[in-house]
């Protein structure tokens, strides 16, 4: 579904993403792990067509993201790190706008908004101004925006950041329920989350992939019980190499 081929991104001299390749199969959830500044957001921004890669390419069900931007953008729902919300709109107005922007036909827009609100459970705040919502609700409105046009692919950049434990569990369950219909790539720091939700894990550091497998296989291979240990291990391994 999503193919990432030899992706490289340079900011001047700085190499943010260094020759990354991986595939995500249809209906699967891929967890994208890495310390801060590892290149997660950059990779996701390239997948969504927000910025072009320096080298390599990304295809969404066979279509190159940089060659057919309008087509591929239509297939993608994207929740950036900070949800892209217009604070002075109500939730309903905002989702209406997002839906039209994502080419939902005028006739179906009302249904699409209702459906998205139902899925992320924000019906009770539909008529509130976004400014007045709590962080958890804002995150959910951002998620509703990403799924409003029922995209084949969902790209979620740290969807649970800044939420309280109960909200985290809710969002996690939500993401799980969305898999199957959608192919999902999500980035996070929270490791148990990956253990529980993801079918596959890609760990990157300094723009390079340092591990890629299912969470189960990874723990078998590394002989560690939790993903957290594996992660710390891998990250610090490459850290001591540098010394």
């Amino acid at each position: 579904m999503i193919q990432i081929n030899n992706l490289t991104k340079r900011y001047g001299e700085f190499l943010a993403v260094d020759d990354i390749s991986f595939n995500v199969e249809k209906g699967k959830i891929l967890g994208f792990l890495g310390p801060n500044g590892a290149g997660k957001t950059t990779t996701m921004r390239i997948i969504t067509g927000f910025m072009p890669p320096s080298e390599g390419f990304v295809t969404i069900s066979g279509h190159d993201v940089s060659k057919e931007p309008l087509l591929t953008k239509n297939k993608i729902g994207y929740l950036p790190e900070t949800p892209p919300l217009y604070m002075d709109m109500t939730v309903e107005e905002y989702l209406n706008f997002a839906g039209l922007l994502k080419q939902v036909p005028n006739k179906k827009i009302k249904y699409a908004v209702e459906n998205a609100c139902l899925k992320v459970d924000i019906n009770d705040v539909k008529n509130k101004v976004i400014k007045a919502l709590s962080k958890g609700y804002k995150q959910r409105v951002g998620l509703a925006q990403a799924i409003i046009h029922e995209p084949e692919v969902l790209i979620l950049d740290e969807p649970t950041i800044g939420l309280d434990p109960i909200q985290i569990r809710e969002v996690r369950d939500l993401i799980k329920s969305l898999a199957g219909n959608h192919t999902i790539v999500l980035s996070t720091h929270i490791l148990p989350e990956v253990d529980m939700t993801c079918d596959e894990v890609v760990i990157i550091k300094k723009g390079k992939i340092i591990a890629q497998d299912t969470p189960k296989n990874l723990s078998k291979k590394m002989n560690k019980s939790s993903l957290e240990e594996i992660f710390i291990d891998l990250i610090s391994e490459s850290r001591s190499e540098e010394k």
Partner: protein
């Protein structure tokens, strides 16, 4: 087209869901109203003076031209006031979206950068046109109590609107380059002020330079409109300036993708 309308709708509504539209339009009408009051009262004073003098000298009262004495200076004043309010209209267009991250939503949606820029331009432009046309009350007062030529008033409005399109283009372009609304407004104001003052340089230079500076000046082109002279050359200046600045705004948004 549908995408442009979607962008336009949100942008235009956002003016009215914040106090910006009300403040800008209110401020504009107060300022232009003050000028209208001053111009009409000095006109009345002058005409009373003339009548008194004519009576004393036992002569006929010399004819006075309302178009020349009220309408032309009124539109000149309005055109100058727009230079101050346009930066307020355009300052948040792109800056706000850059700061809050909503630009990421627009740039990852299946719409083109051209559609985004045009949609935003049309929204700011419509607000400007509404604001400018609200001044119709002033000419109306003169039409009721005097007998001005109507056609020059219409032509002056074409000039005001053309100049607005060009100024808003400049504002959008500056706004697309910064995420700070204050810098956006100040930058737009400085450029508009420059384009206004550059006409004066033509007084101190000669030949080609003088012509060049005169051509560059946004106000020089308006002078003919305020006199009621319709010249497509002047209109072309505004149209091409709008086109050029919108192209620059487009390029600056596109370049975000490469740099960010």
């Amino acid at each position: 087209m549908k995408n442009i309308i979607t962008i336009f709708n949100r942008e235009f509504r956002s003016y009215f869901s914040s106090p910006i539209a009300y403040i800008v339009i209110g401020l504009f009408l107060v300022l232009t109203g003050v000028f209208f009051y001053l111009l009409t009262s000095s006109f009345l004073q002058y005409s009373a003076n003339l009548q008194w003098q004519a009576a004393r000298m036992r002569q006929a009262v010399p004819p006075m031209n309302v178009n020349q004495m009220i309408i032309r200076p009124l539109f000149s004043n309005i055109s100058v006031i727009t230079l101050f309010v346009v930066p307020m209209i355009t300052m948040r267009t792109f800056s706000d979206e850059k700061k809050s991250g909503t630009l990421e939503l627009l740039l990852t949606s299946p719409v083109t950068t051209t559609q985004i820029v045009v949609g935003k331009f049309l929204a700011s432009f419509l607000l400007y046109v509404i604001m400018a046309l609200l001044t119709w009350v002033y000419p109306l007062v003169i039409i009721i109590y005097g007998n001005p030529d109507i056609l020059p008033i219409g032509i002056a409005y074409i000039g005001i609107i053309g100049m607005g399109a060009a100024s808003i283009g400049i504002g959008l372009w500056i706004s697309s380059m910064t995420e700070n609304q204050i810098i956006s407004a100040m930058g737009t104001f400085v450029i508009l002020l420059f384009l206004w003052l550059v006409g004066w340089f033509s007084n101190f230079t000669s030949g080609g330079f003088s012509e060049f500076f005169k051509y560059l000046s946004i106000i020089e082109h308006f002078n003919d409109f305020s006199k009621g002279i319709f010249d497509t050359g002047h209109l072309m200046y505004y149209v091409s300036l709008s086109g050029m600045t919108l192209f620059l705004a487009h390029q600056s948004i596109e370049s975000l993708r490469w740099r960010s």
